[in-house]
């Protein structure tokens, strides 16, 4: 390899020499120049650093930053969605528990109300019935009394009428004024006996 390089160098010098001595046969730039196969070229080194840094910055700007941002955004969004879902589930659970407790208390209350209503209704109905019974008893008693009074009245009336009738019949029979009081007494006793019969 090194021999190769030496010949290359020697050749280049010869060409340069020829070019100077004779007319310019060809431009020196036409001749491609090469570095050694194993060489450390400072300018290439500097270019390498610069290129790597530039590529690093460009890739960061055009690939890593936007893609990373997109991925993190999506990750955050998913996390947010999960936490939101968790939160609304908790809310729903709390609401459900609340409703259930309210519902059961309402049920209890309704039972209480119904029980109370039933009890008061029973009491009332019993009261009403008792009242009615009392009233009815009063009415019956009154009616009995009235009937009794009526009966007595009717008896008295009948008695009076009969005594009057008897008196008039007797007076008509005997055509003669008799002692009314005495006769009346007589008749009354008669009617009394009749009544007993």
């Amino acid at each position: 390899m090194e021999i190769n390089l030496e010949t290359l160098t020697v050749g280049a010098e010869l060409e340069g020499y020829e070019g100077e001595t004779y007319t310019e046969v060809r431009e020196p730039a036409d001749e491609p120049r090469f570095l050694d196969f194993v060489t450390i070229d400072v300018w290439t080194l500097i270019f390498t650093w610069g290129n790597l840094l530039i590529l690093f910055l460009l890739m960061k700007k055009f690939l890593f930053k936007p893609v990373r941002k997109m991925m993190l955004d999506r990750e955050n969004e998913v996390k947010e969605m999960y936490s939101d879902a968790e939160k609304s589930k908790n809310d729903a659970d709390a609401l459900k528990a609340d409703y259930e407790s309210r519902l059961s208390s309402a049920k209890q209350e309704a039972e209480e109300i119904v029980k109370n209503a039933t009890r008061s209704a029973t009491l009332k109905s019993e009261e009403i019935i008792a009242d009615a019974q009392k009233n009815a008893a009063g009415i019956i008693a009154r009616a009995d009394k009235q009937i009794e009074a009526e009966k007595r009245n009717a008896e008295n009336e009948l008695k009076n009428e009969m005594s009057d009738l008897a008196l008039s019949i007797a007076s008509k029979v005997i055509e003669k004024e008799i002692d009314e009081d005495k006769h009346k007494e007589l008749i009354d006793s008669f009617i009394e006996k009749m009544g007993e019969v």
Binding site: L35, V38, L58
Partner: protein
């Protein structure tokens, strides 16, 4: 076999030679940047198509950096990504007939020196200047020269490993082409037609078999190795806690 061709000179500082390596680097960089812009163009919350690929690549790289170096060094991922892409595509460019960047010792030495500087900087950042200097006389002061040689040997071995693999592949491939051309010339010389007998028919297809190893496999492997070594050297130079405390 020649080194990289000098494409042109920038006429300052007495002429800065711009070699084939540098111009090829520019071409590859342009390709990478265009690829990056295309991959991330029109990204959506719900990924599809090329965005899946971009996210896969970025995610894999971040995972690799995190598992190798630790969470505190996650900001190294873009650098490692740039180094890996440039190294791999730089070596693979030989498939397109370009001179691979990594067949130039200046390139691989540049990368290795970059790693060297980062290792020392990270060591100083995590342990302080005193701790860094103290590291050279540990475990016993007697080992000082060996420690120094060990530090300096890292970039040298890294750069020569990468350069040697790719350059050797290039040399062997060209030797193979030469050998196959001679073989065709010998075996086809009975054909009277000079044109037909001059066709190097054996160059067709056979080098591709070698190319699978020397171009595809080695390119990927060396890119992986230089990135791995960079990550391991940098992260082992300082503690992860110190890096996270930054």
């Amino acid at each position: 076999m020649n080194g990289p061709k000098i494409m042109f000179e920038i006429p300052i500082f007495g002429g800065i030679p711009v070699t084939e390596t540098v111009t090829n680097t520019w071409i590859i960089m342009a390709f990478i940047v265009v690829l990056c812009i295309w991959l991330t163009h029109g990204m959506k919350k719900v990924p599809s198509g090329k965005q899946v690929i971009a996210e896969k690549i970025v995610g894999m790289l971040y995972n690799m950096v995190e598992s190798t170096m630790g969470k505190g060094y996650i900001s190294f991922a873009p650098y490692i990504g740039a180094l890996f892409t440039l190294s791999m595509l730089g070596s693979l460019s030989s498939l397109l007939g370009m001179r691979p960047l990594t067949a130039d010792l200046s390139t691989t030495l540049g990368w290795a020196l970059m790693t060297f500087v980062m290792v020392q900087a990270n060591n100083i950042r995590c342990n302080g200047v005193k701790g860094w200097l103290k590291g050279f006389v540990e475990p016993v002061p007697f080992l000082l020269p060996i420690n120094i040689v060990g530090e300096i040997a890292n970039p040298i071995s890294m750069s020569f490993r990468h350069f040697g693999n790719i350059a050797a592949g290039m040399v062997i491939t060209s030797l193979m082409y030469g050998a196959l051309a001679s073989l065709s010339a010998v075996l086809l010389q009975w054909i009277p037609n000079a044109f037909i007998s001059s066709i190097p028919i054996f160059q067709l297809g056979i080098p591709a078999v070698l190319s699978i190893y020397f171009d595809l496999f080695t390119s990927f492997l060396q890119a992986y190795i230089i990135c791995m070594l960079t990550m391991v050297f940098v992260s082992s130079a300082g503690s992860e806690e110190a890096a996270r405390g930054e």
